[in-house]
């Protein structure tokens, strides 16, 4: 029989707007205003999921973001699917489809449920202890663990939704629109502060807005109607912005906060297209007022996790806000007055309360007396010792507590029920406060952590500050606000308040049982199935720090971050280890407070906008000519140009051969270019490069090696003297920005007396490099006015010239060992010059080549690539480049480090050439180099840094770094691979044209 547990019309529910939704494949109905949880409860559905470890049936436990159990998968198998959505937070909409998680084949019959019976052998740390040995078995274990565990499924298709990021600056940010937040917002905005009020729910007023009881009054009006008027008033204030469905994810230092504004999750699916789903708000507030309220604590007793067991405040909210009865035979179990407020509300709505079990013995308050008037049986000084009912609670067993609360006495009484409300008092929601760097203090009288010292200009107000009752909140608030906002007066002076709530509480972290603890399951963390027994076990095994206990037992590590049970875990640790709560500290509350979707985090930075890339002015030509690209730093560089389905290897062989046989052309625009000017420019270069620069003639180029002060190679490139006090430096493509940064650092901080100015001009010039024996002929066709004779324009020199009236700089420099020219021209002419060179080179079969061929050609010449043949442990001496290190210069960056005891060691790894016995065998870059494979462990002498098959030498060549390699010329070494050993001989790293004849060919 289908039940309808809607008991009373609520103004938050629109009964004229019926919504159908599916849960586990079956269609149900709710109304606009329902959450998935309230709509399921109307249909008498409590069982919504299975727990993580034992696969125990679990039901809806709360009515908010702290929900540990009722997490569902939305829209399974669609691109909009999302796991771990809390049923208590999602508003229902037409088309909603939700399924239970953690169960197979169904929530009603779950094979994993067998873990529940195996639980005696699944204690805390079980996974650590059991599956770690032998290590080789791990792969097998992992497969089964992953299959049976896991929280939900991730989508397999691209997310169709749109996400945005937005910056907000305000004077005062107020987090939480409960009664304190509303009053703070009104006070702040009315006094001229630009104010932002955010709340995670779609309505304002927090829990007071449905507190419709004669027991709570402000200025003689029932608290909710008083608050309603306030809300209507603040909606009209101009400099107050209100954002609902907006939850703060993180509260960082300097009042920087991240919030997620949810814009479409409550809309019918067909109304979401082309709308922004979530906005990530990056809020910088001058002042922050945290009014996040408090979370009700559960009580910890045997089998406290059955479907049908909810927090008292949740039962109250479902009845008052949604008009839903969570059960027809309710029992409330409490250690404070909350249950009585709930009981009276239920009674007024005609929902039956069988009994209240209160662990306090001597208690009295208006609320309690009133409850007794309604003939609700109260068991004072009792505790629940057990519950029964597998998929829904059907009975509680209670016993009397001893005076000290340490054990139970007397006979066991059983009371049938279909719903049990529990209340262990309240915990201030201090998560955001601590994220911001605030320090907590422990208040012994009611066993709560409350804000103590703040790290920025902020305050906490209301129950997140430990003021739980209406009178406490309203009496303190005006004073606090006046001080914080520096005001003389608020609208809330001398409010008349009636609050019937008595603050007394009997706090027992772990309630006693008639059974030994080993035979009970008192859950502390419901999502991760951590019990009080697990925590005690962890302590017995020697864990002391709360952070260690947390990790060992996984308490507080679920998607709910243990919002419900963390305090009890602390309490049990403190009681068991005889330490004080205040001294134990708490675990760290890390952002996000509630989970964020990846979409929200990345915003618009998806697809091609995920990572920006830089294109050279000749990029489009490369694209049209089918170049494959490689990423170098942020650049897209042409890698190789395959012709007619060529493989990369074939293309590179062809390009390399063509460049040496006739002519090749390379887009070198990505090389970093730094314009250096000033009367001390030469002196500056002397200090930053290892070689001498003072005597470089105007119009000449020189190769330079740059070190860090630790003596290790940092960058290299050719620098040209354009004029007396004017140089242009080239850097590696990837190093451009860091080299400029480093040079600026030295100029600004070490040598401010030098008259030198640095400007990055990388993007201002396109660079076309033409090389090969026919390069001279080609360039003379492109620039007929330029005298290319060796006398006028020798290797390592530069000319200012013009191509069709456009100024350009031509350098005769070479990274391939071939006769070659680099034409630098204003960037927007880059493609046209490239095309001119292609046209002029047609008769010489000019061949465009990419970075791979460039790497191969330079390797044939033994030229290094910084970052490939070097890492941050290689000196110029290690590279056998002693010739470039000036002995005469008094100092340069890195000089002193070149004769530290470590850098002068002869057994350092040094760059050498490597030739394989089999000329067709190409080594793998990164492969280890050894001398003796029989030694155990094998001594690693170094590794291969560059390796190619040279089409010009018709053999395999490689560069590598080898310990003491300089003295090993001709020596035989071994490259051990997975299935073979490759024999190599140490050789000169210059493989081709040692005499540099080709430069002038």
């Amino acid at each position: 029989m289908i039940k309808n547990l809607r008991v009373k019309t609520s103004k938050f529910i629109d009964e004229t707007y019926k919504i159908s939704f599916k849960f586990n494949g079956k269609t149900y109905y709710g109304f606009k205003g329902d959450t998935l949880a309230s709509a399921l409860l109307v249909n008498d559905i409590h069982l919504v999921g299975r727990s993580f470890k034992y696969h125990r049936p679990r039901g809806i436990m709360t009515a908010g973001s702290e929900e540990p159990n009722a997490i569902v998968q939305l829209h399974n198998n669609s691109s909009r699917t999302e796991p771990n959505v809390r049923a208590t937070e999602i508003e229902i909409y037409e088309g909603l489809e939700a399924t239970s998680q953690n169960c197979w084949p169904s929530v009603n019959f779950d094979i994993g449920g067998i873990n529940n019976f195996l639980s005696p052998i699944l204690p805390a740390g079980f996974y650590y202890k059991t599956f770690m040995w032998p290590a080789s078995f791990w792969e097998k274990y992992e497969y089964f663990i992953r299959k049976s565990a896991g929280l939900g499924k991730s989508p397999t298709e691209a997310d169709p939704d749109i996400y945005e990021h937005k910056y907000i600056h305000c004077d005062v940010l107020i987090i939480g629109a409960g009664i304190s937040g509303i009053m703070a917002a009104k006070t702040s905005a009315k006094n001229g502060f630009k104010t932002l009020l955010v709340d995670e729910k779609h309505y304002l007023g927090g829990s007071t807005i449905y507190q419709n009881s004669e027991h709570f009054k402000i200025n003689n009006q029932v608290s909710n109607s008083w608050l309603e008027k306030e809300i209507n008033e603040i909606k009209k204030i101009e400099n107050l912005e209100i954002k609902t469905r907006t939850s703060i994810a993180a509260f960082h230092g300097y009042n920087f906060l991240l919030a997620r504004e949810n814009l479409t999750d409550h809309l019918p699916l067909d109304q979401r297209n082309n709308k922004t789903r979530h906005k990530l708000l990056k809020i910088r507030a001058k002042k922050v007022i945290t009014a996040t309220g408090s979370l009700e604590r559960p009580l910890i007793f045997d089998n406290n996790d059955r479907p049908g067991i909810l927090l008292c405040s949740a039962i109250n909210k479902y009845a008052n806000l949604f008009g839903v009865a969570c059960g027809e035979k309710n029992i409330l179990f409490t250690n404070n007055d909350t249950a009585y407020e709930t009981a009276i509300n239920l009674f007024q709505k005609g929902i039956r309360v069988e009994a209240i079990i209160d662990n306090r013995e001597e208690i009295d308050s208006n609320l309690i007396r009133n409850t007794e008037k309604h003939n609700i049986k109260i068991y004072k000084g009792f505790t629940v010792v057990n519950t029964s009912g597998y998929k829904r609670i059907n009975k509680v067993s209670i016993m009397q507590l001893s005076k000290d609360g340490q054990k139970v006495v007397g006979p066991k009484i059983s009371i049938p029920c279909d719903c049990l409300g529990i209340s262990g008092g309240w915990t201030p929601a201090v998560h955001l406060f601590t994220q911001s760097g605030g320090k907590l203090k422990f208040r012994d009288e009611d066993q709560v952590f409350i804000p103590d010292t703040y790290s920025s200009d902020q305050i906490s107000i209301g129950s997140c500050n430990g003021d739980f009752t209406l009178d406490e909140i309203l009496i303190d608030l005006p004073k606090t606000l006046k001080k914080f906002l520096n005001l003389k007066k608020t609208d809330y002076e001398n409010l008349e308040i009636k609050s019937s709530f008595n603050k007394s509480k009997r706090n027992i972290w772990l309630l006693p049982s008639d059974k030994p603890i080993g035979k009970t399951k008192p859950f502390v963390d419901f999502q991760n199935d951590a019990t009080a027994k697990d925590i005690k076990l962890a302590l017995r095994e020697g864990f002391r720090s709360i952070e260690h206990v947390k990790r060992y037992t996984t308490t507080g590590m679920g998607t709910d971050q243990g919002k419900l049970g963390n305090m009890h875990a602390l309490g049990i640790i403190s009681e068991t280890s005889n330490s004080k709560m205040g001294e134990l500290g708490t675990t760290t509350f890390r952002p996000p407070y509630t989970p964020l979707t990846f979409g929200t985090i990345v915003g618009r930075n998806v697809g091609e906008y995920f990572d920006v890339f830089r294109k050279t002015p000749i990029h489009e030509w490369h694209v049209q000519n089918k170049a494959k690209f490689e990423n170098v730093g942020q650049w897209k560089r042409a890698w190789y140009y395959p012709k007619d389905n060529e493989t990369m290897y074939d293309a590179v062989q062809r390009e390399s051969k063509a460049a040496r046989d006739s002519a090749g052309i390379l887009d070198a625009s990505t090389l970093g270019k730094i314009d250096i000017q000033g009367t001390d420019a030469s002196e500056f270069l002397n200090r930053v490069y290892t070689n001498a620069w003072s005597k470089l003639a105007i119009g000449k180029c020189r190769y330079g090696l740059m070190l860090n002060d630790d003596g290790m190679v940092y960058d290299d490139g050719v620098t040209t003297r354009l004029d007396e006090n004017h140089y242009i430096m080239t850097t590696t493509t990837g190093g451009a920005a860091t080299v400029l940064g480093k040079l600026e650092d030295y100029l600004q901080t070490e040598w401010p007396e030098l008259d030198v100015y640095l400007t990055s001009v990388t993007d201002h010039y396109a660079t076309v490099s033409v090389c090969g024996p026919n390069s001279k002929k080609i360039v003379s066709k492109v620039i007929p006015s330029l005298d290319l004779s060796d006398e006028n324009f020798p290797h390592m020199s530069f000319k200012n010239t013009k191509i069709d009236k456009i100024k350009c700089r031509v350098m005769r420099i070479s990274f391939t060992g071939e006769h070659s020219y680099e034409i630098n021209i204003q960037a927007n002419y880059g493609e046209s010059i490239w095309k001119k060179c292609m046209e002029a080179g047609k008769e010489f079969n000019i061949t465009p080549y990419g970075t791979e061929t460039m790497h191969l050609l330079r390797a044939e010449k033994g030229f290094i690539i910084v970052g490939q043949d070097t890492d941050a442990t290689v000196t110029p001496i290690d590279l056998q480049m002693d010739w470039i290190v000036s002995k005469k210069k008094y100092d340069f960056i890195g000089k002193r480090s070149l004769y530290r005891s470590d850098t002068i060691r002869e057994d350092r790894k040094q760059l050498v050439g490597l030739l394989t016995d089999n000329p067709d065998e190409v080594l793998e870059e990164g492969a280890q180099i050894v001398a003796d494979v029989n030694k155990s462990p094998i001594e690693m002498l170094g590794h291969v840094t560059s390796s190619y098959f040279s089409p010009n030498l018709k053999k395999s060549i490689a560069l590598g770094v080898v310990k003491g390699g300089k003295k090993m010329m001709g020596q035989r070494l071994i490259i051990p691979m997975e299935n073979k050993k490759i024999n190599v001989t140490v050789a000169d790293p210059v493989f081709l044209d040692k005499e540099n004849k080709r430069l002038n060919a």
């Binding site: 300097y254 940064g741 650092d745 901080t749 070490e750 401010p752 008094y890 000089k895 002193r896 480090s897």
Partner: protein
């Protein structure tokens, strides 16, 4: 994320800046005359203070100027910013 008062540009978000390690470490004028130990002291040894620390920062996405900052690393409070070459305004 801090808010940093660049001595040249004014108040900006931390994302515009980069930290550059401990401040007031002067590169020796005559490195060649130092022993290995003395050179290593300059090259490798840096303090990592919990508390008030003098640091170098650069306004990377702004004026590109280096400057100094006094920051309490335990709570990220910025106590002072001042230009390169200037004496720290606090001890």
């Amino acid at each position: 994320m801090f808010v940093i008062n660049c001595p040249y540009c004014g108040v900006r978000e931390q994302s515009e800046f980069k930290a550059g390690g401990e401040a007031h470490i002067v590169r020796p004028k005559q490195p060649t005359e130092l022993s290995d130990d003395q050179w290593a002291e300059y090259l490798f040894m840096r303090k990592n203070i919990k508390g008030v620390q003098f640091e170098r920062w650069i306004h990377t996405h702004g004026c590109r100027k280096w400057f100094n900052m006094v920051r309490d690393t335990s709570n990220d409070e910025i106590k002072a910013v001042y230009k390169m070459g200037e004496k720290p305004p606090i001890e």
